[in-house]
């Protein structure tokens, strides 16, 4: 996962200078590129967009998409929507937690994986699902999880 250099982030901040209504747009772009929101960047945004820092912080901490800590190289997502739940997602999640040593929201010390849950992604028919870096692994069973995770260094 490539990190943005400071100039790219500054570019995004500049584009939204003086537009408090675009705070969320700016945060989404930075999160998308940088995969997390460093505190000093939030301060820069607050100043440039003329939004109190406390409000930037509220929004950055409110939404699950934003990460205030650096994420791992691979995002491992276990869907916990209702259909996946009924079709066995809890057992799958337990196995993935066991294999990665992580609870949802956590990143391991080698920054290999970040584990996430939630958000029904609309592909209920192939649940339960494991989604790694956006790639879907449908109709998963706990015993298939290890093979999938092995593919990601």
């Amino acid at each position: 996962m490539s990190k943005m250099c400071e100039t790219d982030i500054d570019g995004i901040v500049e584009r939204y200078r003086g537009q408090p209504g675009c705070l969320i747009h700016a945060l989404v772009e930075i999160q998308h590129e940088n995969h997390w929101l460093p505190r000093d960047v939030l301060h820069k945004l607050a100043k440039a967009l003329q939004v109190p820092f406390a409000q930037v912080m509220q929004i950055a901490s409110f939404y699950k998409t934003f990460s205030l800590t650096p994420k791992g190289r691979h995002e491992v997502h276990v869907c916990t929507g209702m259909t996946c739940h009924l079709r066995g997602a809890p057992k799958l999640l337990a196995r993935v937690e066991e294999l990665t040593g992580l609870k949802p929201g956590e990143t391991d010390t080698e920054s290999r994986f970040t584990l996430a849950t939630g958000a029904c992604l609309g592909s209920c028919s192939i649940g339960p699902e494991l989604i790694v870096d956006g790639k879907h692994y449908g109709r998963m069973t706990p015993d298939k999880a290890e093979d999938v995770l092995k593919r990601y260094a």
């Binding site: 699950k64 209702m82 958000a119 992604l121 609309g122 592909s123 028919s125």
Partner: protein, 552 residues
């Protein structure tokens, strides 16, 4: 492509498009809906394109990537025209056979539908049981349209309704037609759209906004995304017609950030609509100006609530506003804002084209038209289906859904996700009707229908749904922020065999107070699934409390 300046120019363009398309020429439509995409339908599409290249079939065989066909369970889906031949569970390795057969006008027998019990085959779409029992007015066009090509939408008659509205009808007449049709909101509220439009139209402020709520946070509902990803122009056309009727100058499409294909298709649709002149100034020479912006959620369910969504578009945290201030009077930046669901907007073009009278002939007394339903859970055939309102649930569950998987018995049917309710299997003859289902305690909501089999622990389901909502609460008001975790805590104890005396009474109090005093619909309806458990599955609840110790 020069901007179309009039209805006449559009007619000419449409005629030209149709003339260039030979209906006899075979076309292979590969579904790229969420589930099919998740099963790598992209590889199937790529294989077809490679085959066309390799055998120099350009001009003889068309390959089209489309939005969701609906039969998600059996994807990757491929439909071949002419003839609407349906192939299921197609893999790249099947491509050479399909190409060869199609060119010869033959069928690949091993890939067509086979009845799981009798083995009887069905080749054409109108023979396949899943499709046969549906009325696919909204989603039926999906296999014919590549969402990246506006010409495909024009080829099936797209934007003709907009022309009719702008050139033959006044805004008041358009509004009148939608009111007469009794189009009720498809996002969960079931509120008459025409009334909402009228309130917005009559609000004193001249600046008005219209919004498409494409958030679809309801768990197990995936029909809005199927509609918006597969046929964004239909939704957009409805929005433009609505803006004309209401007197809005700006529109917002609000959708999810986590679906790249959806984003790509909607952006392309907006750009192409702008290019062709369906958006912008003086649309088709009518004097009507209208622009649309695309906004994304940031991953929280409450931002699907209309006033919270508007806060989010403004750039604020999505905290809902109490409904004493109606958003149709004071919404985004305090301007009158009319918000409707994706499916609601998608209904508008056909109401204008074919008339309110035609629309009201479908459906039941109080619920008109068709409804998109996401069938899932322990169902055999999961997918996106469309049936007339008033259809008995039995038809959805057995004729279309194929019943419960693994030969198990049906225990319950759940509607409305975390804000809905479950009804027992005995009520299978209830009809898909806003008011009837509401009275039963399982409101249709956005239309996510889940089947639960005989092994389902209903208490655990109630606990799971509350858990979902606890994570999605904004935290502003006490009953939701505090009441829901307390309900979840008690239900967790019940599922773990740690029930205590007084638990049911505590649950009932929490359910009542949270329902009465929460600020927005999330908190207000959070206890509804639990209430339906009390109503229909009370013995199961009671069995978790140590015997003889109920009452505190």
């Amino acid at each position: 492509m020069a901007r179309l300046q009039s209805a006449v120019e559009l007619d000419e363009l449409r005629a030209k498009i149709l003339a260039s398309r030979d209906p006899a020429r075979p076309c292979i439509a590969v579904c790229a809906g969420a589930a099919c995409d998740g099963m790598d339908s992209a590889a199937v599409a790529a294989a077809f394109l490679a085959a066309v290249d390799e055998h120099r079939l350009a001009g003889k065989l068309e390959v089209r990537t489309t939005g969701c066909h609906g039969y998600c369970e059996k994807g990757p889906n491929v439909v071949v025209t002419p003839g609407d031949i349906c192939y299921f569970e197609v893999q790249p390795a099947d491509v050479p056979d399909i190409v060869a057969a199609t060119l010869k006008g033959e069928v690949v027998e091993r890939l067509v539908y086979q009845d799981p019990v009798t083995g009887a085959k069905a080749v054409h779409m109108d023979e396949v049981p899943f499709y046969k029992h549906q009325t696919r007015l909204l989603i039926g066009d999906n296999p014919k349209i590549d969402p990246m090509r506006i010409d495909d939408y024009l080829a099936v008659g797209g934007y003709a309704a907009l022309v009719k509205a702008l050139t033959e009808m006044s805004p008041e007449q358009v509004l009148g037609e939608v009111k007469k049709a009794n189009l009720r909101g498809r996002g969960g509220g079931g509120f008459p759209a025409g009334s909402k439009w009228e309130t917005t139209r009559n609000a004193p402020d001249k600046t008005k906004y219209v919004i498409v709520n494409g958030h679809e946070g309801e768990s197990a509902a995936f029909m809005d995304r199927a509609m918006l990803t597969g046929n964004p122009h239909k939704v957009l056309e409805g929005l433009i017609i609505g803006a004309y009727a209401i007197g809005a100058q700006r529109g917002f499409m609000y959708t999810r950030h986590d679906m790249p294909l959806l984003t790509k298709h909607v952006r392309a649709a907006l750009a192409q609509a702008e290019e062709y002149g369906f958006l912008g100034e003086d649309i088709l020479g009518s004097g009507f100006d209208f622009e649309v912006e695309l906004h994304f959620d940031v991953g929280i369910f409450v931002s699907g609530e209309s006033s919270a969504l508007m806060r989010s578009i403004e750039g604020n945290a999505p905290e809902p506003r109490p409904k004493y201030i109606r958003t149709s009077v004071s919404g985004i930046w305090d301007k009158p804002s009319n918000l409707n669901n994706v499916e609601t907007w998608a209904n508008v073009p056909q109401i204008i084209s074919r008339g309110a009278e035609w629309f009201t002939r479908m459906g039941s007394e109080g619920s008109k038209g068709t409804k998109l339903i996401s069938l899932s859970g322990h169902v055999v055939n999961s997918g996106v289906v469309e049936v007339p309102m008033g259809t008995p649930l039995r038809t959805l569950v057995f004729d279309i859904g194929g019943g419960v998987r693994d030969g198990k018995a049906l225990k319950a049917i759940h509607f409305g996700g975390a804000m809905g309710g479950s009804i027992p299997a005995q009520l299978i003859d209830a009809r898909l009707d806003f008011d009837e289902m509401s009275k039963l305690g399982a409101p249709i909501g956005a239309g996510g229908l889940l089947l639960m089999d005989e092994d389902t622990d209903m208490i655990e389901v109630a606990r799971y749904l509350l858990d979902f909502l606890v994570n999605e609460s904004c935290g502003k008001c006490v009953p939701c922020r505090e009441g829901m975790p307390q309900m979840r805590h008690i239900l967790t104890n019940l599922t773990e065999g740690k029930g205590k005396p007084g638990d049911l009474e505590r649950l009932e109090d929490l359910a009542e107070v949270t329902g009465l005093s929460s600020l927005c619909a999330l908190g207000k309806t959070s206890a509804d699934p639990l209430k339906s458990m009390f109503r229909y599955f009370k013995p199961e609840l009671e069995s978790r409390i140590p015997a003889g110790s109920e009452g505190k």
